[in-house]
């Protein structure tokens, strides 16, 4: 189960990050030219490959498995809280839904005020930062469970291929991606894995072994749905 779950989670999480990166690259491409946009993207991907290549083996080689599980668990839990909290706020109407069309227009307007070097830096930073989140998720999944690297990396690569293909075909920001629903699911999955692994690292005995992961997913899902419902209620004066 772990391989498929890891691939699915990294696929959705990476898809969301790549959609945001593609919006930035498209904005740079339209205003400063495709050469700048694509060369900045290539440099950022190169930097990501170096960071992942150095960090991944170092983590697995020098850190004890239990310490790794605690560290990775905390990291994923923090990431999960950030994603899920944002999705809860959006579903409850407390935060505006992300609009890729508006982000694209704002990016284009901002880029028109600056020179080419700024455009390169914008595309490079955008791809690097969004990609870094993907790299962290893939690395943490593969470090905490042996044999999940290929599944996690395959999920991220599949998402990258689909988003890049769609960006080339459409040459337009992706306004129809259900970003909030995807963020909600990813938040729950990251939180669940983070909780499970950090608990294992701390020496907790989950009541149904690996099967407890499903219970944890269910508890977080129920809690998140209750919170959306609670925040939607009008406040009494």
């Amino acid at each position: 189960m772990n391989g498929w779950v890891a691939a699915g989670t990294t696929f959705i999480a990476s898809g969301l990050e790549f959609v945001e990166a593609a919006t930035i690259v498209l904005a740079v491409g339209y205003t400063a030219g495709w050469r700048v946009a694509l060369s900045a993207t290539a440099w950022a991907i190169g930097a990501l490959v170096v960071i992942t290549g150095l960090l991944g083996p170092a983590l697995i080689r020098w850190v004890a498995l239990n310490d790794l599980k605690i560290g990775i668990g905390i990291f994923l839990t923090l990431f999960g809280y950030t994603w899920l909290r944002k999705a809860i706020w959006r579903y409850a109407g407390r935060k505006a839904m992300r609009d890729e069309e508006a982000a694209f227009e704002a990016g284009v307007a901002d880029l028109r005020k600056h020179e080419h070097r700024y455009a390169f830096a914008t595309a490079f930073n955008g791809v690097l930062l969004e990609g870094l989140e993907v790299a962290v998720i893939v690395l943490t999944f593969s470090a905490a469970r042996a044999g999940t690297f290929l599944s996690a990396a395959a999920g991220a690569l599949a998402a990258a291929a689909i988003v890049a293909g769609a960006a080339v075909l459409l040459r337009h920001p992706f306004s129809r991606v259900p970003e909030n629903a995807m963020g909600f699911i990813v938040g729950i999955m990251l939180l669940s894995f983070g909780t499970f692994w950090s608990g294992e690292g701390l020496g907790l005995h989950w009541w149904q072994g690996e099967g407890t992961l499903l219970w944890i997913v269910g508890f977080y899902l129920a809690c998140a749905l209750l919170l959306v419902a609670a925040w939607k209620r009008p406040v009494r004066a």
Partner: protein, 65 residues
């Protein structure tokens, strides 16, 4: 050049989404587990999960960012 403080701020936003509650909740869950794991026995795992679920609820009370 970005100052060290600004770099830490960016990293904090990247990892914890500028939340104060979530790192505190995780620290509380880990502290309680380490201190009472043996005395809680079977209940240690549900207790750990319960604190983290409570942290999620508390985190949504923070100002929207």
């Amino acid at each position: 050049m970005e100052t060290a403080g600004a770099g830490v701020k960016r990293a904090y936003k990247f990892i914890a989404g500028n939340s104060i509650v979530t790192p505190l909740g995780i620290a509380l869950a880990i502290g309680v587990t380490l201190a009472f794991r043996h005395s809680l026995g079977w209940w240690a795992a549900p207790c750990y999960l319960g604190i983290l679920l409570g942290t999620l609820a508390a985190a949504t009370l923070e100002p929207v960012q």
